[in-house]
Assembly symmetry: C2
Homo-oligomer: 330 residues x 2
Amino acid sequence: MNVVITGAAGFLGRMLARSLLTRGRLVDRHGSLSAIDKLLLFDQQAGERLSDPRVRTVTGSVGESQSVERLISDEIDSVFHLAAVVSAEAESDFDKGMVVNLSGTLNLLQACRRLSHPPRVVFTSSVAAFGGELPSPVRDDTATTPQSSYGTQKVVGELLVNDYSRKGFIDGRALRLPTICVRPGPANKAASGFASGIIREPIDGVTAVCPVAAETLMWLMSPATAIANLVHAHELPPAAFGHQRCLNLQGLTLSVGDMVAALRSVCGDETADRVAWRRDPSVEAVVSTWPGRFESARARELGFVADKDFESIIRAYLESMESINGVRLD
Amino acid sequence: MNVVITGAAGFLGRMLARSLLTRGRLVDRHGSLSAIDKLLLFDQQAGERLSDPRVRTVTGSVGESQSVERLISDEIDSVFHLAAVVSAEAESDFDKGMVVNLSGTLNLLQACRRLSHPPRVVFTSSVAAFGGELPSPVRDDTATTPQSSYGTQKVVGELLVNDYSRKGFIDGRALRLPTICVRPGPANKAASGFASGIIREPIDGVTAVCPVAAETLMWLMSPATAIANLVHAHELPPAAFGHQRCLNLQGLTLSVGDMVAALRSVCGDETADRVAWRRDPSVEAVVSTWPGRFESARARELGFVADKDFESIIRAYLESMESINGVRLD
């Protein structure tokens, strides 16, 4: 079978590509495990080279319908649609967010619809689907109330994935991802980027600014758990989803203060003391609208996985860094 | 001030145009009542001629961005966006629904965004925003769960009206309209069209087929009440809406059987016996997903109006027909 990843040069896209190549197989549209023959990695820039004969690198933007139509040829069985302009950038550059997040998703769905068999499409939505005054915890049937352009565009994507699935144009699945933490490498333009920064940078020996109050609740998931859940979403039969193709994953709920306390317990005082507290109203304005507490019964029933605790997430991050460049635990 | 109505040749569009011309004034962006200088009636065909010096008729489709950009010039203060492909047609002609209902709304909002001052935009959403398993009654914070392409496209419109308002690009207001009953004239392509047909056609001496079971609940509003509420939505200050620009109106909840019973009590047995019961699965598939019971606290608090009972709706319809062509009550 042939699989596309959009946003493949991004952090999650790269991880997902490596995971799929290692795994080697996915459930096909007949419900059988089938070898991945081709993995098409689509992004604006080529990203890292993966020396695997199954990999094809395709450059282009999901915002350009012709690029997407060329990408989604009739040989495609499955699409992981990760390409997106992140929260703070979609807020500061409204047009860019609309082109990539809204028109891009529409371009992809329209291209999928033209295939002779409906492909499986896994779409990543976000905690930013929710905002403002919300019940606590947020449940599976809580109304989406986005308070950012990013969140709005993601909810539009969810609605379209549902309707294209109902019409039989695709076999869609959409996951509302928690804030992914710990992201390695340089910060991206997500408003939630600090959540990784306040762990990653102190470990790297650098001072990190936390731009929100210590009591701010975050809803978190490790990169490895997110990838496992994206693959699980693909593997479930269509009947597991029914009419509602979108669900909230099971994130960890933690205050930013407790995140730093976990860093202290795993890495020691010297590391944790590198977090500087300096509130930034522009970041708080976005992050404070997101809910922290979820009761994700549906994800649990469908076998999606959750992280054990934040200390384990930090340790897993340290191990992954160690395997890359020999950073040691304190 | 200068006002645009899209979908102006439709039934509600024509009624709204006459109502605005009679009223003569609307609240402007400074909160003052201001005379309507120009009323631009936009639709694909010209529709009836209104011999009023304030009226300009403009032909075009909201699905064509250039037509919309020409329509929404910098002299525009307010837009009533009624243009839409109705439910059954959006279901049978998916592309047409997407072009008019989704791209059309986006074209309109983008054109409004380019104006030097944010216009007031009143958008009509629908009961079709809801479907499937729902709490009863549906409340103001019930999650939208459209089960039709029409409903999906309307909810996307609501989300965009909210986000464009939050960004200050427009001052938007969106109303989820109940099924409008009694519509005069020939049936349109809405799945709910029978709700008017089973009243209008028996009164005209014609047999009408009711394609759903007698116990099917409908959520109804008279045309005059819908128009009063569209105008009220325009007149309220932006602060009345806050972040959530969309609300459920206060419809009447009635089974189809009770609708025919009301027809019997107002017009007699001979008229009511012209309703033939013959279920049509394609209509039931759409209509049965819509909720019947609502608790619309927010609309009530904001001063939106409701019909008294269905008998009054039938009597008002008879009076309007009488004033047009002399039809008499039985």
